[in-house]
């Protein structure tokens, strides 16, 4: 019986399209181009440097592992490159090279290959690396270069300011700046709209579905609106919360990772809700200004339980059958 349960699949008709893993990976990378363009435009050559280094490091680490294992690893299948790019989007543009190397090692080795490589990991590799870097090198990970500023000028992110200085410090920040990306932050935190633009292609290709991003961003919006409604002097508004930090990057590109998100409809709704809930819990009450990466990692851990206890109703399925 045990084996039977393990091999359970959907019933026919089973459609098959021509998209290979490789094609999906490179498509996702292409859809990140608008956001990457904004990052490079904001942070200049530093952004290019970080992007190039993390991409080279992750692919190189994977290629190195491929040399030493008995099974086959296709290190050019785009998954390592995608991890590298997502990692670049999760660090500040002035991150030193050794930090990026450590990040690439953690992402590829601890995040992915020890689980058996592509499709076997339980946690999003780029986020494992980001959280690892954030708690190991908190100073380097939170001194953000300001977009368009003179070389070497750093400042806090809007969320960081909100945590340390209170809402008053944000008086000069406009919502359009936040949406377009005119704020300090890691490469991928800057422009919510550019990320959404790229993600539209993913929705069209059905690589990602609406459940997780909508519930994730929706939950952040609702919780922020409630607190803002109760006390507008202390708590920032809902639009501020969804456009700052990594909410869009997390909701569209990290939480929707095919391998580490739930398979079922109810599971996805709960997953998105959990991500939004923990994000806001950490933002409002924690000591870290930003909670997206922690929230998604935490929810990655719940995925097996969600898949197990919230199955889709199959055609003809009887309760307790």
């Amino acid at each position: 019986m045990e084996v039977n349960r393990l091999l359970l699949m959907d019933s026919s008709p089973l459609g098959r399209d021509g998209d290979s893993t490789k094609k999906i990976m490179y498509t996702v990378i292409l859809t990140l181009l608008p956001a990457l363009t904004v990052s490079v435009w904001m942070f200049g050559w530093n952004a290019v440097r970080v992007l190039a280094l993390t991409s080279i490091f992750t692919v190189a680490v994977e290629a190195l592992i491929a040399r030493f294992v008995s099974y086959r690893i296709d290190f050019m299948d785009g998954s390592a490159l995608l991890t590298g790019i997502l990692l670049a989007m999760n660090v500040p543009a002035n991150a030193p090279w050794w930090m990026l190397l450590v990040g690439a090692l953690v992402a590829v080795v601890i995040g992915k290959q020890v689980f058996g490589g592509l499709g076997q990991n339980m946690f999003n590799p780029a986020l494992v690396a980001r959280v690892f870097l954030l708690i190991s090198f908190p100073v380097e990970m939170t001194s953000w270069p300001l977009p368009g500023a003179v070389d070497g000028t750093t400042g806090a992110t809007p969320l960081g300011l909100l945590k340390t200085e209170g809402l008053g410090a944000l008086a000069g920040t406009h919502l359009t700046d936040l949406a377009l990306g005119q704020v300090g932050g890691s490469l991928g935190e800057v422009s919510a709209l550019a990320l959404l633009l790229g993600a539209l292609v993913l929705f069209y290709k059905k690589y990602i579905t609406w459940e997780i991003p909508v519930t994730f961003i929706g939950t952040v919006f609702v919780i922020a609106a409630v607190f803002n409604g109760i006390n507008p002097q202390t708590y920032a508004g809902p639009l501020f919360h969804i456009f700052t930090g990594g909410v869009f990057l997390g909701a569209l590109y990290m939480a929707t990772d095919m391998v580490t998100s739930p398979l079922t409809f109810k599971g996805k709704l709960l997953f998105g809700f959990g991500c939004g809930f923990f994000t806001m819990l950490i933002r409002l009450f924690g000591s870290f200004p930003e909670g997206v990466s922690f929230a998604i990692l935490l929810m990655n851990a719940v995925v097996p339980l969600l898949d197990k206890y919230f199955p889709d109703k199959r055609f003809g399925m009887v309760k307790n059958g």
Partner: protein, 192 residues
């Protein structure tokens, strides 16, 4: 009331027994292969931990302190906890034989679960009153249960993945525990 809520949230998430205090690691590794045994173990620990919290409070404040033998705390607490576990074992054998069988060796092992002794000693160190001690003990047990059930779910899913031979079993379990501990650091600072 708000103070109690903070105490509960703190014990479950912020200062999770397993992920931030690193107490009770052996049942965490040992009983997390299957979800039902993990759930059973969590309940057994919740029961024992809450009772142990209450009884060690009474022992501390009405026996150890009045006769000035606080230095006997560790030994006395271990004795109290060990006899308590024996009691739970006898009751469980009669009332829930299936659970008793499923827990097997791990039920007597609660005796040596450092989480229980640890929480009892922490309650004394933090100068909790009786109600706080009981609530803190129970919430800590919930945190332990949360960690154990989460981990058991992951390990069950792990059976379907092709983990390399060198990492299969305990090594990958350790790595996952590490990643979970990192994720739980996100709760840092929520409770002072």
């Amino acid at each position: 009331m708000a103070e109690m809520a903070l105490l509960i949230v703190g014990a479950i998430f912020v200062n999770n027994v397993v992920f931030t205090k690193f107490l009770g690691i052996c049942p965490y590794m040992g009983v997390s292969k299957k979800l039902d045994t993990a759930a059973g173990m969590s309940m057994a620990v919740a029961f024992v931990l809450t009772l142990a919290g209450a009884i060690t409070y009474i022992v501390q404040h009405y026996v150890l302190v009045p006769v000035h033998i606080e230095y006997m705390q560790t030994i006395v607490f271990i004795l109290v906890i060990a006899s308590l576990v024996q009691l739970v074992e006898i009751v469980m054998k009669k009332t829930a034989p299936a659970l008793y069988k499923a827990l097997g060796i791990y039920l007597p092992l609660i005796t040596t679960n450092c989480a229980i002794l640890g929480i009892a000693i922490l309650s004394v160190q933090n100068d909790f009153d009786f109600l706080q001690t009981v609530v803190f003990s129970f919430a800590s047990a919930l945190g332990f249960g949360l960690a154990l059930v989460l981990f058991a779910g992951i390990r069950e899913a792990l059976d379907l993945r092709q983990v390399p031979k060198a990492f299969a079993g305990a090594p990958i379990a350790m790595i996952i525990a590490g990643i979970l501990a990192m994720a739980f650091m996100g709760f840092a600072g929520m409770v002072k």
